[in-house]
Chain length 244, copies 2
């Protein structure tokens, strides 16, 4: 019981100690203090540094590994994951081709606007009326063919100065640039028929069947950070859903 002095940096909260440790380490990753790919201090030293027991540090790292923030390898060390790696940045792309590979495509045109959140945006992004959003409209191409029309909205308060950045607006890129870590997402898939404007954007016949994807991505703390509507064909391709 000698070193029970609640190290000044910790113990201010009612949350379990291992959660506080996780939060502290996650902050280091989000702010860029710990760079992707680099090995972090070993468990025992880290535990000493934060003034917790090795078991508590281990539990915190267990959570972070589960959240895909770090990778641990026996005999080597613990490494910060690169959130812009293919595996992590394509984590929310569930449309797959006949061979099972993800259909990513290239963004060919982007419009960005800013305005007051409408009713739908307020609901999906949990905003209050009057809050502002940035809106993206873009088309994804595969083999020079238009494949998916996307309209995405993000809360303006989370991405200050975004309109000057000339970004293509993928949430993964935005998150990295603004030091935000992404958590889970929910997507609603329904079927509709192509309206005139969608038919034109996707070069299909008006009235042909179209998949409508309605997706909300959350930050690691559970706050919604992107609402996206997408329209695409699913004739050759399929959407892969995994249930655990």
């Amino acid at each position: 019981m000698a070193s029970n002095s609640k190290p000044a940096t910790m113990g201010l909260s009612t949350k379990p100690l291992y959660v506080q440790v996780r939060d502290a380490l996650t902050e280091r990753i989000a702010t860029g203090a710990w760079k992707p790919g680099v090995a972090i201090l070993n468990e025992a030293d880290l535990a000493r540094e934060l003034g917790v027991s090795p078991g508590t540090m281990r539990k915190a790292l267990d959570i972070m590994e589960h959240e895909r923030l770090v990778t641990r390898r026996q005999g080597r060390g613990t490494f910060v994951n690169d959130q812009s790696s293919d595996e992590l940045s394509q984590r929310f792309i569930n449309v797959r081709g006949p061979d099972g590979e993800r259909i990513v495509g290239d963004v060919k045109s982007v419009e960005i606007t800013e305005g007051v959140a409408n009713e739908m945006e307020c609901m999906r992004l949990r905003l209050r009326t009057g809050d502002r959003v940035y809106r993206f409209r873009r088309v994804r191409f595969v083999d020079e063919q238009p494949f998916m029309l996307v309209e995405a909205s993000v809360p303006a308060s989370l991405f200050p100065g975004l309109e000057k950045m000339n970004d293509e607006g993928r949430i993964v890129g935005l998150a990295k640039r603004f030091g935000m870590l992404l958590g889970k997402a929910e997507e609603r898939i329904s079927i509709s028929t192509a309206s005139a404007s969608i038919a034109e954007a996707l070069s299909v016949a008006p009235g042909s069947p179209i998949a409508v994807l309605d997706r909300v991505v959350e930050a690691i703390d559970g706050q919604p950070v992107e609402w996206r509507m997408a329209w695409c064909q699913l004739a050759e391709n399929y959407y892969l859903a995994v249930m655990n």
Copy 2:
């Protein structure tokens, strides 16, 4: 080092001890030795019974909680989950109505046949050519309206005597009856247009857009146990996919 004698029941494997403990306890649930809803022995006594430390028992129970086999509540105890409860048995039902509630419906007609697995069944269920399967064909109704046409296949070897059982063929029910615990599932969603036979079964116009669901459910050990194709409308409803 006194009690390092590898209790006769355990330690025969190369797997970590906590995994062996998990397997042993899981077996008790699968065989019905431990009934759903009943509290199991407390951690300390269980640890003594299996001859492991409390920490190891705790880790095994952590895994089982994560696998939805048990629920633990501080101050009360650890309880075996009822795999036929709504929450668990509807875990693979992702079609939702406008209000977000799951669309379950009632099974109105079932046909069951038995035969040699075709190429597709061999691939999805990881069977060898010549292996046998049971096949179900059923229609789900909502408000007296046909809603979903289902064709499911299961390996005959896993469900001996199934043809005499007059079962409606839901995999959750089969699993419970045969002492099998289910793990994860993958579903491929694509869009097609109603063929003549599907249009008839679902009472829609031939050629109208239809969602095609291609799903494989695995047992807790990762072995595929059901391949299911389903056709349904997604006009009013939507399919909910969660990404972690």
